[in-house]
């Protein structure tokens, strides 16, 4: 068994209005100096030993992320 983390982020050229809204709220809360926020998704998968890296890439590319608008990374934690 292993824990795998898949992070999915909007591509740099894709407008991220949610991240912009978060960035816009920070000064109102008294936090200054944060110049940009991008918001994405974080998945944690528990997988058994039969799930190889190719399979994880297919899960990320074909389902968890939409490659038209998003980038993804896969990390094995253990």
């Amino acid at each position: 068994m292993a824990r795998v983390v898949v992070d999915v982020m909007p591509k740099p050229e894709i407008l991220d209005p949610q991240g912009q809204a978060v960035a816009g709220a920070l000064p109102r809360l008294g936090f200054t100096g944060v110049t940009e926020v991008r918001q994405g998704k974080h998945f944690e998968l528990e997988v058994d030993d039969t799930v190889d890296d190719d399979t994880l890439a297919k899960i990320a590319e074909g389902f968890l992320a939409n490659p038209v608008i998003e980038e993804w990374t896969v990390r094995r934690l253990s």
């Binding site: 407008l15 949610q18 939409n66 608008i69």
Partner: protein, 223 residues
């Protein structure tokens, strides 16, 4: 003439799509997401709503429903398919249409009657419109901003595959004011606004939406 209308968990506008098919003198056929059988329909409407609660991404889970694999196969064989709102998102996720729909630029859910210009009246769903016709159709979406990379946008513009464009102020930040696009063969069309809500002046802002449903019936009769 049978037009199938798919219902997923979370679909909202299947009933109005069925009504629109009936207005156009077609026989509506309800299709269920878990049933891969298309029951002999001649065309399919993927209606609006929030399939699977919009979990993961709008349309991301619906595209893997059993009925969708049959729709993708049929579309590749030339069957007319119309995706409305969430249906448009599903067709993009399924790869039948290019690009994707993302959160509206100003994060607001937009709900209003929207003027559109018909940019392509040669698709299976738009032959009843005059070229450049302007139509009034309800728009109601929070993730209706159409995006695609520049090469794809250039290809769509170059091949005349932008079918509907927003007239006036862009409601959601869509690239090039795009409200709807079509497949390379002009048989699959997706748009964010809801033509099935504009088929009768009694219940909508116009009956402009009827043109899509009459058009597909024409294309099937002529086939």
């Amino acid at each position: 003439m049978k037009i199938g209308v798919i219902t997923f968990p979370g679909t909202l506008d299947d009933v109005d799509a069925i009504r629109a098919a009936r207005y156009a003198d077609a026989e509506p056929v309800s299709l269920w997401h878990a049933d891969a059988d298309l029951h002999g329909v001649d065309a399919v409407i993927v209606p609006g709503g929030f399939s699977y609660g919009d979990y993961l991404r709008c349309g991301a889970i619906a595209r893997f429903a059993p009925v969708m694999s049959s729709v993708v196969d049929a579309a590749k064989g030339g069957m007319p398919v119309l995706g409305i709102c969430n249906g448009f998102q599903i067709l993009c996720e399924a790869g039948l249409l290019p690009g994707a729909l993302v959160r509206n630029q100003k994060l607001h859910f937009v709900c209003r009657d929207q003027w559109l210009r018909v940019e392509n009246n040669t698709t299976a769903w738009t032959t009843r419109f005059e070229p450049g016709a302007e139509v009034l159709i309800p728009l109601k979406s929070g993730e209706g901003s159409y995006v695609a990379d520049q090469a794809t946008l250039d290809e769509l513009e170059g091949e005349g595959r932008v079918v509907f464009r927003y007239v006036g102020e862009n409601p959601n930040g869509s690239r090039a004011d795009i409200a709807g696009v079509t497949s390379a063969n002009g048989r699959v069309v997706g748009l964010m606004p809801h033509p099935e809500h504009a088929i009768d002046a009694l219940t909508g802002p116009s009956d402009d939406g009827l043109g899509l449903f009459y058009s597909v019936v024409d294309s099937l009769v002529g086939a």
